[in-house]
């Protein structure tokens, strides 16, 4: 049984004229690392909200089809029941920060789940260390920079130890170093046992970690497969999605009649592939 199953799922926000999700069919197995991408407004955030039950429990509207998460139909189980399964990092991190300081923010989720105090302390200290939050420990989450807030939101979500991390553009406010650190951490947790669904426009940063890329446009899934396969499709550029520069060069070379052995996703891969062709 897949961990997440969208079965012919459609959703229209209350008062909206058109569907935000149209007949979405999507199965995500345990252990996958799915990058979800597509043009601004195509429905990525709505899909994330549908995984943790915010759609349709909090954001109401017209709904057809079903979403089943770890065996639970999101129509029938409330957000609190789904919280330990699917941890969502909001696109706008400020909107999910609810306590008076960073330490309490990280402890808040596990406390609500009834996790033992000692274990909570351990998680808080571990996350403060991993996400470089020591200097912010006592600070009010609304009195911080955008990137600092985003790191706190990530820490607070990881503290839940969710089965699946659903992260909605989690690097959008991060400086490039922090983005690398956090993405490495996520990739590491994925290698252990955490399933990942990550929304991202900056595919140059994440596609190397992903096992799968799902491309959306206008509320529908329009491509779904291995990162190298999806990102080398012309469809990406047609709908305005930015592919990694190394992949772009691969495509340009191909047009000129030079074929590299595979589709590169990073600069280093591109260099190696060029070298291989040259040596033949």
């Amino acid at each position: 049984m897949p961990l997440i199953e969208f079965a012919d799922f459609s959703f229209k926000y209350l008062g909206a004229d058109s569907l935000a999700l149209r007949k979405v069919d999507l199965n995500i197995e345990e252990g996958e690392y799915v990058v979800l991408t597509g043009p601004s407004g195509c429905g990525k955030t709505t899909l994330c909200r549908a995984i943790n039950g915010l759609v349709p429990q909090f954001h109401r509207g017209y709904i057809a089809g079903n979403v089943i998460v770890d065996g639970k139909n999101t129509r029938e189980h409330n957000v609190a029941e789904l919280a330990p399964i699917a941890g969502l990092v909001f696109q706008q991190p400020e909107n999910q920060l609810v306590t008076l300081n960073v330490e309490r923010e990280i402890a808040f989720g596990p406390e609500n789940l009834g996790v033992e105090r000692k274990e909570i302390r351990r998680r808080v200290e571990e996350l403060i260390d991993m996400l470089d939050l020591e200097h912010l420990r006592e600070k009010h989450p609304h009195e911080m920079s955008g990137g600092e807030q985003q790191r706190v939101a990530m820490a607070a979500t990881l503290a839940l130890k969710p089965k699946v991390l659903v992260a909605d553009e989690p690097t959008s406010n991060l400086d490039p170093q922090s983005a690398v650190t956090i993405l490495d951490l996520i990739a590491d947790l994925n290698r252990r046992d955490m399933t990942v669904v990550l929304v991202e426009h900056r595919l140059d940063l994440v596609s190397k970690d992903a096992s799968r890329v799902v491309l959306m446009d206008k509320g529908s899934i329009v491509a779904d497969g291995e990162p190298r396969e999806v990102l080398s499709m012309d469809l990406c550029q047609e709908i305005g999605v930015g592919i990694p520069k190394a992949t772009q060069i691969y495509k340009r070379l191909k047009q000129r009649g030079f074929n590299l052995d595979k589709v590169p996703l990073t600069g280093a891969e591109l260099a190696t592939l060029v070298q291989e062709v040259k040596q033949r």
């Binding site: 926000y13 601004s40 911080m144 400086d175 340009r252 030079f258 591109l270």
Partner: protein
Amino acid sequence: MIFLENVHFAYDGLYTALRGVSLQIDEGELIAIVGSNGAGKTTLVKHLNGLLRPDLGRVILDGVDTKHNSVAELAREIGLVMQNPDHQLFLDSVEREVLFGLENLGYSKVEAKERCERTLNNLGLEGLSERSPFTLSGGERKRVALASVLATEPRVLSLDEPTIGQDARQKENLAKMLGELNKKGKAVIVVTHDIEFVIENFPRTVAMADGRIVADGPTNSVLSNNEVLERCSLTRPQLTEAARCLHNVFPEVPERLTLIDDLEAVVVKILGGG
């Protein structure tokens, strides 16, 4: 035109965010401000239009200290798009949001309407003018915040993380609009973590860390200085990384910041074409 002179600032007098920042911005410049989370970039741009006032030091506009100017006065000259659009948007329709600034600046109804429509189209927001900003997607909301400021074409545009939530096409649209405004003589200052966006569009880069400006100069030299990259939590963008890796094997590939056309040309040459 604008001169920040040794600006110091601490939130609530307690949390130090700027430790002596001096920066000169001339008419018609394109400047990117980059650097670590918490470095003070947002704090800095909020000083340009008086949203924050220095504890020490001065902000000088056209030779005059701005300490007696209200935010409303400064906003006529210096438009600021905030990092979080939720802090900026407050009206119940996209159109009203954009018209608000224009009408405040005294544009006639007809002219305001025309500018509003044009800006919304340029930013891929056509068809959303009747919508409430609070029902938009994150990227759409950011573009409404951008539209409301870009439509007024102030002398100085300062944009805090304008590419957040934007796909490649919207980023191109934005870059094009900024280029056109710049051709009309407007200065554009962006705060951004998007190094590719910087390399492609901004000839001057200011790098910050820990409340200070660590480097200020031509983008090429600032972003190829390893010490600056390290201190300001920056990384090399993918193309530069590719150029570096290729350089190790093919010395004819220059090891520096690269645009895609240049790197393509070099690789084609290596492979014996072109």
